[in-house]
Symmetry: D2
């Protein structure tokens, strides 16, 4: 399997981009041509303290605190404030993987290697020496394709533990009348966020079993030249996997394919839009903050139709 | 002046978008048509601890720390790690206005009001009740236009304290063969970042005098229906201003026009590209993280040409 | 009531210490004389992400992340490391009131005033202009007295909503053979932490009803010259209070008496020790970190017997 | 040298306390007897953003932000606030070694080992499995002795790079009429903080050469049963050291002796007090926050005389 999908060396020994290399200028130019109405649809959840990470987790939900406020201005105590002139200011602490984000290639190791046969010790307490978010942060403008799998299967959401087959991916695309192309970023909707949030909370979303693709989908992604895949789940892939390692799709996809994976994408508004107009392809812009040496890429992705 | 440019009430009493309303679907559709080569150019500086904020400032430069590393995997101590499988993870603390960012309409007050005649006490210690970054975070996909003012004036960078006139803006656009249009975001390059960083540091960049536009440019922006303006400076506007309040352009533009202002944009690579191909208009995507109740929008803006 | 217990002006118009003034050198000298065995008992809970604050609360539990690790040293990638020499390093983010702490006098307002008839706008987005933790941070070395109220009442813990009466305080002290003295810090054990943590968690501890003293105990504290009172509860006082304001004891004790209040003190080990040797008085050292402009004082208090 | 001073195994294979074991109840009892006047002297610097860490350092100076303010109360917008009742609240982010602190035994490695012959991989991205601050956080109540070395040598401060000899330590103690005893914590004043701060800043304090003891003082500390040593310098020891490794005293003292080291202690007020009354011994209380898994112990130490 690994040999079949590996991209090690494909773009040179120094490559830090992996499948993002497939997002060529030509791909972007064509993607821009998909903008017909000029509508923008957000694919991010709110970044705040009510986010998905469970209590006590090492990944904190976003913590937002203030440095300057309007109430200070109103009461006349803000330095420099005259004539009711003043400003507000703030700080935020984020886990890079705590809300909508890209996994960087430096995020995952297998057999002590990271992408392109590098040693995992390149990622240490002072961050990632290579393959961090800055490597690809300005690249992800391309064609996006929504695969609304539960819709194709006539469901509100996929059952927990449902492993999406290649046949299901193909059937979904066929119903949506889209052919996958090299450089595409696929947004695979499982409905798992819809299910978890139906009462407003995030119960049974993080650190639980979840629907998603398995290892057997990777050759299909490889053959079609897919540049990235994002989902509305916490951990991207079908859990449990049955493999001896935790998250085997991460291991093969990130480490060997150099595939860009996205997690905790909010796909419901996009699904509604695509269902309404019957168009499942669009311009995707998903540019994470270029945080030096970071292994996760907090991002506000949007679809432009 | 304020009466002349005010947009209070223009888009309804509840409006939180201000001039971002001018970015219509039609504007976006046309902007997408500007993508000719499919090249993406980053407009963000690095988000890290070596950033522009000076020592001791209340706005900290980005602090990045690790939650999980490859060295833990290599030494066999990462929980759940088997067969060299493992992951890296991290956390970041950011001042929302500390690196490349949009000012939200909740960021600025004048005469104790914020945009659309709201009381400044809507922005308090628990953040912004309205006009925060989530209001507009998915909207900023539009035509961008670079105004390379020093180039138009035959300079490497504008002198510190240079106040850019309307005539200079118009002359720059004329040389660049672009006409401003409603819904545009203008990127006004002053060269001040080029100057400050010529030795690699950030000396004389923050809390110093700087070139930029003054109040007299606001009617011109208003008349042309400009949706947003970003610069390569720390505080957007010409300092000193000569006004009785600190940062008068902020006061009138943000509070009364509801104008989207961007700061600390890196415009040098874009300037080089535009100079090379002679094209100063492009698709701009600048989607800040949707941090609940935040008054600043950290963002990775890109130009797509 | 307020007139009866107020200390406004008692130690001068500029006083920021309140009842901490009662901890005189003579009081400390006598307290030091209580050290008989030389045993130290910790009165702090663990400062970590499993702490008492509930999910989504604005006060985050402590977030601890690493800057340098032994695994980096082991794998030879720590800068400057040779011959297996190296170091570890870390960062912590704390809510000042999130674990064991003192409330500073700047923490509480009533009728828009803080202690000593100051305007509440002295505490703003850049912290406390006065009455913050640095005012008293080096002062709290004095006699401590444990009041093990549930023990005196023959209970494991007080019922939730139990309001401790003055008679109960006096009966407890009588059983413990201690007379309250000027400059004492009283540690009032309710057993509420014991109850909440009997299954290891923190359920029903924060933002819930809880046992504690009410307003009627304040004159008794005032008359005895008590310098501070700490409890094993989250909010110090009996909830519900029956008053029109939330936390009336805070309002009168902190704002008008300038009384030092401590919360989330771990008193079970101390209770066991005092029960074993029959001695309920000791040297108390409770020196919070001197964080400039902070309104809460994270602290590791100890009893020395 | 290492063999001569090693304490590995001395207190059992599981010991995490090192020389803190020498602070026995008897030692504390005697130390309490040193309290004569009841005066408390703070030994901490301010914890704030103006602290000693240089710009861009991985250890941030303390960042303090607000969660609730008096200005919110004044303007009537604080939730739950009625009748001017309200509160203030805040958060702080600290480098554990960024201001006054103890080095934990988990802080230092040599030959890939930490104290008591443990593998350095016990300290990883999720913190210290052992020998962290919680191991000893409630123990440090003992006799403190100030060694005012520059005073003994007739200087305002020691020259940068001055290596304090054993003879100088002994001469200082002799002048001060103190005999070192088992369980003591020595506070070695170099005057380096006085020098660095003479203009108010922290220039030439961190990451520079500095006075302090060298390796040859360790046997002397060992023989006298010293439980801990703290200084008014950034890195405790004389720099440069002449050794092949960076900070050799750290390596031998922490890793092999298990010696408690303190840094960035403010000793000037204490020096003035001791000089005035001629008494250089006192009760020392230095209880760091018990932050789970932390390798540094931020602390507010005090001397009680």
């Amino acid at each position: 399997m690994i040999r079949r999908v590996s991209n090690w060396g494909r773009w040179g020994a120094d490559d830090e981009l992996g499948t993002v290399n497939l997002i060529t200028p030509a791909v972007r130019r064509e993607a821009a041509g998909l903008v017909r109405r000029g509508e923008v649809i957000s694919l991010a959840i709110a970044f705040d303290r009510h986010g998905p990470q469970p209590p006590g987790d090492r990944r904190p939900n976003a913590l937002h605190t203030m440095l300057a406020t309007g109430t200070d201005v109103k009461t006349g105590v803000q330095p420099l404030s005259v004539e009711g002139w003043g400003y507000a200011d703030d700080v935020v602490t984020l886990a890079t993987h705590g809300a909508t984000h890209w996994d960087c290639l430096a995020h995952q190791f297998y057999d002590f290697r990271l992408y392109n046969n590098r040693d995992c010790t390149l990622v240490r307490a002072d961050g990632a020496e290579c393959c961090g978010v800055t490597a690809f942060a300005s690249r992800v403008v391309t064609r996006g394709v929504l695969l609304d799998v539960p819709r194709a299967l006539g469901l509100d959401w996929l059952p927990i533990e449902h492993r999406i087959t290649v046949a299901e991916l193909e059937r979904t695309l066929e119903l949506e009348r889209v052919e996958p192309r090299s450089g595409d970023v696929l947004l695979i909707r499982t409905g798992n966020m819809t299910r978890a949030r139906r009462d407003g909370g995030w119960d049974d979303y993080v650190y639980t079993n979840e629907p998603g693709i398995g290892l057997e989908a990777l050759p299909w992604l490889h053959e079609h030249g897919i540049a990235g895949v994002a989902t509305d789940t916490w951990a991207f892939e079908a859990i449990p996997s049955g493999a001896s390692i935790w998250l085997p799709v991460h291991a093969v996809a990130i480490v060997h394919m150099g595939l860009l994976l996205g997690e905790i994408f909010e796909l419901d508004a996009l699904a509604a839009s695509c269902s309404a107009d019957g168009v499942y392809e669009f311009l995707l812009a998903a540019l994470p903050l270029p945080i030096s040496r970071a292994v996760g890429g907090p991002v506000h992705p949007v679809a432009v139709k």
